[in-house]
Subunit: 221 residues, 2 copies
Amino acid sequence: MTLTVLLADDHAMLRSGMRAIFETQPDLRCVAEVADGRAAVAEVARLRPDVAVLDIRMPKLDGLDATEMILADPANRTKVLLLTTYDSDEYVYRALNAGASGFLLKSLPPEELISAVRVAARGDALIDPSVTQRLIARFAVSLAPPPTPPEFELLTAREREVLQLVAAAYSNAEIAAQLHVGDETVKTHVSRVLAKLGLRDRVHAVAYAHVNGLVPPRSAR
Amino acid sequence: MTLTVLLADDHAMLRSGMRAIFETQPDLRCVAEVADGRAAVAEVARLRPDVAVLDIRMPKLDGLDATEMILADPANRTKVLLLTTYDSDEYVYRALNAGASGFLLKSLPPEELISAVRVAARGDALIDPSVTQRLIARFAVSLAPPPTPPEFELLTAREREVLQLVAAAYSNAEIAAQLHVGDETVKTHVSRVLAKLGLRDRVHAVAYAHVNGLVPPRSAR
DNA sequence: AATCGCGTCCCCCGCGCGGGGGACTTCCGA
DNA sequence: TCGGAAGTCCCCCGCGCGGGGGACGCGATT
């Protein structure tokens, strides 16, 4: 089965270069070439190619906006590969959030572009290695346990427990009920927590707990 | 300059297969073959190859634990490529958190393994396309701006501004000073914010703001 | 011209909160 | 055996906070 491809780049030279690359493959067919993002969105909607290769920098509508528009269409089944000269992190995040199937640098060897199209067509995704490196770093920190500040170690088990509940915005009375102790006891714990952590009041405690990752960030709930 | 590679896999057959692949490249030299994770860690520390190719399933110490041990050593400069037969998500996350430079499936074409080694050696990273797809999905949600709750739309510009400051644990007086308005004004804004968002007090407002991502999560600061 | 939303400022009242004390048990280590 | 740390409970006091009102000016919409 042959794969249909749409090319979008504002440089005619680059388009014909890519077209030439695809023409070496009997199963790849370049069905359209456009020079700006708006045309890309329109042609993708009309021709429904298997894969659209979009430059990020394009007139009228850039590749990222075009990607978002294309993938926002529920009837769409075209996969999007994004090409760029510079690999700004911002681009990458937007591209991935939009749901692009690939993020590649123009320095990519021709044969890899071909394989990238095949990868995208079968529903997989790939990212340029130089970008992947930083992506992993970012991904890792987003998953890494945040460094626990030293003063947190001063807290006793009970105090940490209370801090958790304070961070969840419970009042002293509510915490007392949950822990089956008197509310005066809770007050004592809270006071000690504030003193040990150098916080002014429970409002600061809530912010502290969230900033320091003591509260599971919604994605984990 | 020639790149040195260490191979770790408990199947001798697969090792010799990979070794044969590397031997087709004049600039790649396979300096060690080991059959378990413990040996891999030891040999990496001794030989300091440029790249270590580790199977995930290995006796004694699996590839993930081995990766963590190798990369935890500050004197280490060896890059780690992980190979696996099955691409369980859990594996991927652990691998990336440990700092692996690659996560590949054994179904990889030989020439891509070679290029993967070169990519890893120069400090970049790559992930198997079939895995990348799911990684993007996961990564996207972790980066996606949390869906702004509908009631948040009810807030006026000024009220959102005040909410930001409340979330940063400022008192009404401090907010008043920062906004150059009277503190009674701030009280009014805060009251309206609480009413519109259905929150009991500023403590809940702080939690609300953090949970809903209205406060940039430390990594962005 | 009338109205509405917004931002600003003011009053009073009740209450939860946090600081300052003190006191009692249990348990563990010096 | 005697601390000391941890956890529990109690009192008083001051204050920031939030709800209930009301008021005024401004701009945009009707």
